[in-house]
């Protein structure tokens, strides 16, 4: 939520900055336009003002020369004066001031003017006295003549820009002629051109900025939409995560409960087997105790029981009783769950297991081979490991009997390498079929359906070794049979 707010604020901040920049650009552009107009006006105004000064001086000079206040008559009658004034007019002709001449009007209704004086020095372009002349923009010329006011206007000739300045010559309140000056606006044109170029560039910048601005607004809008969508998805993910967490928790609880149940089932199954083993182990000592008791009884009835025989037989009974008691202890220890790790070794573990199962195996003519290559003490849970070893031996016994193998044996090998302590339990029952070798550690998978196998033994063994003891339980086949490997890390 905090990030969302800060994100929105950033977008708004950038939008405000973009709007301010846009306003500033438009303001600058307006200011530039205003300044441009001022520059153009000022520049042009300066030239016009200068030209106006020239025409005023010329006008005064010409008026001084006029006789009887009649311009036309004076000029018509005095050729020398015409030449003299035209010479003066020609002095003003430069590359900038192209034409300086004086005209009057034949009639007010006519658009044609009459050239009175012409400062032009080029004979091809020089007008004769009283030559009729048709100007462009005759309306402005007429206006200047009729209303006695200065006029100026631009006109183009080819690529050149010119300004025509019209200055009425007034004698006694009457316009008697029009002084015309054509001057070049090249400097002005250059300034205007540069300003126009600048204006064009500025326009492109403004247009570019406006496009960028709208693109920014457009992107910001979509970014905001995307952010909202992201937020929604994140919220949904959070909700999903919470529900997943709770589901996982539930499933873990169920799994743990199931594991406990499985362990319980497994133990119950093993207890059943243990009881048969106890029965088997007890049968011989009990028979021996019974035999010793009968011997005592028989000798006592025949009065043959002397002290030596009684001590000998009772000692046997005591020995057998101790053996029975020891067997009970072994079984009781087997079912104790270790809460803490203890220092132990594989040899100790297999000895404990053999104490329980050895008689049963020997009675079934199954040979037991022990090969202790290396021995190493480690900290682990001995009773759990003993359960696993017993389970592996018991499975080997079952399969040897089921397949009725000739000269059956179970081999126990203990060895180590740099990192691991390894206990192998192998047999000569021919191995595990390859089509089921990947499934034998799955819960409820059993090949001993007829013998009421629970399918939990190997599953529990793997759980004990890999989850409790942080080791590995693996199986491979060799030429004789299966090899189960318990690998514990040092």
């Amino acid at each position: 939520m905090k990030n969302y707010i800060s994100k929105i604020k950033t977008i708004y901040l950038f939008t405000v900055v973009a709007i301010m920049l846009l306003i500033a650009t438009i303001f600058l552009y307006s200011k530039f336009e205003y300044t441009k107009q001022n520059i153009v006006k000022t520049n042009l105004g300066g030239q016009i003002s200068y030209t106006n000064d020239i025409t005023n001086k010329l006008e005064k000079n010409i008026i001084k020369s006029i006789k009887n206040n009649n311009l036309f008559d004076t000029l018509e009658n005095d050729i020398k004066l015409r030449e003299k004034i035209e010479e003066k007019l020609s002095l003003f002709i430069t590359t900038r001031y192209r034409y300086v001449y004086i005209v009057d009007k034949v009639s007010s209704s006519d658009n044609q003017f009459r050239v009175l004086l012409d400062g032009t020095q080029n004979n091809d372009d020089k007008s004769e006295f009283l030559e009729l002349f048709t100007p462009l923009n005759t309306k402005i010329w007429n206006k200047s003549y009729e209303y006695n006011q200065n006029e100026f206007f631009e006109h183009k000739e080819g690529m050149n820009l010119w300004m025509t300045f019209l200055n009425p010559i007034e004698i006694n309140g009457k316009v008697v002629g029009l002084m015309v000056i054509d001057f070049a606006l090249e400097d002005h044109k250059y300034i205007v051109k540069n300003l126009v170029d600048l204006d064009e560039t500025f326009k492109y910048v403004v247009i570019f900025f406006i496009i960028i601005f709208f693109l920014y607004i457009w992107f910001s809008y979509f970014d905001l939409q995307r952010e909202k969508e992201k937020e929604n998805i994140q919220k949904q993910l959070q909700i999903l995560n919470k529900s997943l967490e709770s589901k996982i928790e539930d499933e873990l609880k169920k799994s743990r409960k199931k594991d406990k149940q499985l362990l319980q089932q497994s133990r119950l199954a093993q207890m059943g087997e243990m009881i048969s083993m106890i029965a088997h182990q007890w049968r011989q000592p009990l028979a021996a105790i019974s035999s010793a008791s009968l011997a005592i009884n028989f000798k006592a009835q025949r009065e043959n029981l002397n002290n030596e025989i009684a001590i000998n037989l009772s000692s046997k009974i005591i020995g057998y009783s101790k053996h029975l008691s020891s067997t009970i202890d072994d079984f009781r220890n087997f079912f104790k769950t270790n809460k803490e790790k203890q220092l132990t070794s594989f040899e100790e573990i297999i000895n404990g297991a053999f104490n329980i199962i050895e008689d049963s195996l020997l009675s079934k003519n199954i040979k037991i081979e022990k090969e202790i290559v290396d021995e190493y003490n480690f900290e682990s849970y001995p009773n759990e490991l003993k359960q696993v070893v017993l389970n592996l031996i018991k499975n080997a016994e079952d399969v040897l009997l089921e397949k009725d193998i000739e000269d059956p044996f179970i081999k126990i090998k203990i060895y180590k390498n740099n990192l691991e302590c390894i206990l192998e339990v192998s047999d000569n029952a021919g191995g595990i079929p390859l089509n089921i070798i990947d499934k034998i550690f799955d819960p409820y998978f059993s090949t001993k359906i007829k013998k009421d196998g629970t399918g939990l033994g190997l599953y529990m063994s793997k759980t004990i070794i890999e989850d409790h003891c942080s080791g590995k339980l693996e199986v491979i086949n060799n030429k004789n049979g299966a090899i189960f490997k318990i690998v514990l890390f040092k």
Binding site: T120, S127, T134, H155, K156, G158
Partner: protein, 134 residues
């Protein structure tokens, strides 16, 4: 009126593209005066010859005899009887058979038509061109 407006337009534009618009002006004026001719035979002096050659309405001839009108200035005596459309103020002022002129004065195009001489050659000036007549 249409011709007059066209002429004004041509004169105004002549300032920016002299040669092309001069040709248009000659075409308008001469074809309005010599209305019965599909093609006007012109004998011209060198200064305007290259411009007039470009027109499909004009045929530039090699001598005065085959010409309907002379365009230009400073023609020989053999051409003295032919009507002239002058290209200078001096020619316009002095030539006795001048019917009109087009020339530049102080950067302004000047079109002038001489009514007396037009009548002398039995040429009729359209109403629209009378504003240029003297």
């Amino acid at each position: 009126m249409k011709i007059f407006i066209t002429l004004l337009f041509i004169i105004t534009n002549a300032l920016s593209n002299n040669k092309a618009y001069e040709l248009k002006l000659y075409e308008k004026v001469l074809s309005s005066i010599f209305i019965d001719y599909n093609k006007i035979n012109i004998y011209t002096s060198d200064n305007i010859k290259s411009t007039l050659k470009k027109s499909k309405k004009f045929k530039i001839v090699d001598n005065c005899k085959n010409a309907i009108i002379l365009v230009g200035k400073e023609f020989g005596k053999e051409c003295i009887d032919k009507p002239l459309f002058a290209t200078s103020y001096n020619e316009y002022k002095t030539h006795k058979n001048v019917i009109g002129a087009f020339y530049w004065r102080k950067g302004r195009p000047q079109l002038k038509l001489k009514l007396n001489n037009l009548n002398k050659f039995n040429l009729e000036l359209p109403e629209e061109l009378r504003k240029f007549a003297q």
